[in-house]
């Protein structure tokens, strides 16, 4: 870690982007008054944060996890169980859940890091499902109800607020924290290592990168923040159940947002979340009444079309357009080790 400041790449546009991020995450919750938009804002910030967390291991390091719901669910369940049964503040529960998720990440990393690409995806998918099944089976031996609800008792220590805007602000802070960490990783030597591993494991190892170690760091950071997102969402919704927090759909959502915006980049997952969530909502509102399920059919089709047409997401697409206009000609694609 002491090497972190040794190699750090700043770009000229960084300050502007940071300002924009702060304005959106801290400004919008104060300005927006409409309940519907505030709700959207909370979910958007939370999902953007978790998609960014996924992106650290899935995008930068190229370890395509489809099992992040395990971390999300563990985060939601740990804090809720601790709060409901032991009265522990969700703030501490969030940390406890994060640590537990990191421990789980170590367990799955053992077998999973031996695999590549789609097989890593399959193994992590199975992992996420296993955690859910174990949780549901454990109800036989405990008197835990199927769904857990949290009593609505506002208070900062209990992480329950009266105003929706407070939740939005909290979710915004979460997004800032994840983005800051993603930024630190991406622009430091670590990001260069992760991208090297993504592009070619053989070449990375041959260059002396301790591959296992850096994959593991990426996964641990990712697991922690996804888990924290789980706690925050549980505190916002105040109700969780096994199938809602452990779902394959969630595991697919995070990479989807990253892919939509631009996988592996810092802003990509945030942009992706900002498009995917409202898109789904608009589709639901337009078609949800007339035919249940139609909005997700269209969503799936839109996904196929976008992935085929814009394999590098919107950021990649924008970059391609800029290149074609010839303002800043680039040679070849992205150079190895270059921060994106």
């Amino acid at each position: 870690m002491s090497r972190l400041p040794g190699y750090f790449e700043w770009k000229r546009s960084d300050a502007a982007w940071m300002l924009l991020l702060f304005a959106c995450t801290l400004g919008l919750p104060l300005v927006v008054a409409n309940d519907y938009y505030l709700n959207m804002l909370v979910l958007l910030f939370l999902y953007a944060g978790m998609a960014s967390a996924w992106n650290i291991v899935g995008g930068m390091a190229g370890q395509f996890s489809l099992g992040h719901t395990a971390f999300f669910g563990v985060g939601a369940y740990t804090s809720t169980l601790l709060y409901n049964y032991a009265g522990v503040s969700p703030w501490l529960g969030m940390v406890a859940g994060g640590l537990l998720s990191m421990a789980l990440a170590v367990v799955i990393a053992f077998p999973a890091f031996r695999m590549r690409g789609v097989f890593f995806a399959m193994a992590t998918l199975a992992f996420g499902e296993t955690v859910r099944i174990l949780l549901m089976a454990s109800r036989k031996y405990t008197d835990m109800p199927y769904g857990l609800s949290i009593n609505y008792q506002p208070g900062l220590a209990r992480m329950i607020f009266e105003e929706r805007s407070s939740y939005a602000l909290l979710a915004g802070l979460f997004l800032i924290a994840v983005t800051a960490v993603a930024f630190m990783i991406s622009r430091s030597y670590m990001g260069a290592y992760l991208r090297a591993i993504r592009d070619s494991e053989e070449a990375a190892v041959a260059s002396g990168i301790a591959m296992r170690r850096y994959k593991m760091i990426a996964l641990l950071v990712s697991a922690f923040f996804t888990s924290a997102g789980g706690t925050l969402l549980a505190q916002y919704v105040l109700y969780i159940e096994p199938t809602s927090v452990f779902s394959m759909a969630f595991s697919v959502d995070l990479p989807l947002m990253a892919l939509l915006g631009g996988i592996g980049s810092i802003a990509g997952p945030i942009i992706g979340a900002a498009i995917a969530l409202p898109l789904r909502d608009v589709l639901l509102e337009t078609f949800g009444q007339s035919a249940p399920g139609l909005h997700l059919v269209l969503y799936g089709v839109a996904l196929i079309v976008i992935v085929i047409l814009l394999p590098n997401g919107l950021i990649g697409g924008a970059r391609a357009i800029r290149d074609r206009l010839g303002r800043r000609p680039r040679q070849g694609g992205v150079k190895a080790g270059e921060a994106r």
């Binding site: 053992f110 077998p111 999973a112 399959m122 296993t130 174990l134 697919v252 892919l259 799936g300 996904l303």
Partner: protein, 294 residues
């Protein structure tokens, strides 16, 4: 002892069914190196095809299987020509997401058209729903489905080994570049393979409907089963699919007898361990798990 024999026999029957359900996935992976995450949804559509065939026209899906096969062959060919063609030489990630997108779309299409109800049909007249062998009972539906599995798997092996087209498919699967130099058009082979793979999957769904409920999200159960079978038996190996299916069937039946809650968890733990220890499976080609079309 009797209970043990019963469990093993039920396991073998279930295994045959699982092998049939997984064959299409393995065939497509073996040739085009695409893991089809929408595989379970095609199986689900096959189940509905069997259901509606029986409900609307009264034709038993066992006799209607050729019809389902033809329909699903066209569907598979369309799936390749309309979607997968654009992703075939692209990074794995693109294929994963395109097939995941299709899976979302098809699942919700089924939800839209046929609601979330659990549907099944009875294909056997009263009193013939199970076969008795001494003290052992075997459900007739499963025995017939097992018969289908044996016939189809044998037919596929013979087709791949003994016919000109089958050998062309094998050639593409083994070495794309060399096969092209021999004058084989990969696009034609890919269309054929997707058609064949989806046709088998559709038939599998059709003969599964009497013993499993059809509902829009049933595919996500079967796709994981199919993953386990394929990884267990061997990537790209048809014979391995049979072995993998039977082993999984026996494990599931015996495990389900002792710990019914954890039945599904055994699948997944098995999958993770296998992927870690022997990613090419019992009968697969070593290194198959690292192959991509390049």
């Amino acid at each position: 002892m009797e209970i043990f024999t019963q469990l093993v026999l039920s396991g073998i029957l279930l295994g045959g069914v699982y092998a049939l359900a997984a064959l299409g996935l393995n065939l497509i992976f073996g040739v085009a190196k695409v893991i089809n995450f929408a595989h379970g949804e095609f199986l689900m559509l096959g189940m509905y095809a069997g259901f509606w065939l029986m409900t609307l026209t009264g034709v038993n899906p066992y006799f209607g299987a050729p019809l389902i096969a033809v329909g699903f062959f066209a569907l598979g060919a369309l799936f390749y020509a309309g979607i997968m063609r654009f992703t075939i030489y692209r990074p794995e990630l693109t294929q994963v997401f395109v097939t995941l997108g299709l899976s979302i779309a098809l699942q919700n299409l089924a939800l839209m058209l046929w609601q979330a109800d659990y549907r099944t049909i009875q294909t056997m007249p009263q009193g013939m729903s199970s076969l008795r062998l001494g003290a052992i009972h075997l459900p007739t539906d499963r025995v017939i489905a097992f018969g289908f599995a044996v016939v189809i798997l044998t037919a596929v092996i013979v087709f791949l080994r003994r016919t000109f087209t089958g050998r062309a498919i094998e050639a593409i699967s083994q070495d794309l570049m060399a096969a092209r130099l021999m004058g084989i058009d990969p696009q034609k082979i890919f269309i054929l393979t997707f058609g064949l793979g989806i046709a088998i999957t559709g038939v599998a769904g059709g003969v599964l409907i009497p013993s499993f409920y059809a509902f829009p999200s049933v595919g996500s159960f079967f796709v994981l089963v199919a993953f386990v079978v394929v990884v267990l038996g061997g990537l790209g190996s048809v014979a391995g699919t049979i072995v993998g299916g039977v082993i999984l069937g026996i494990i599931e039946t015996i495990g389900g007898y002792f710990a019914p809650d954890l039945k599904e968890a055994t699948h997944f733990v098995l999958l993770i361990l296998l992927l870690a220890i022997r990613p090419h499976g019992l009968m697969g080609i070593r290194g198959a798990e690292k192959e991509t079309l390049k």
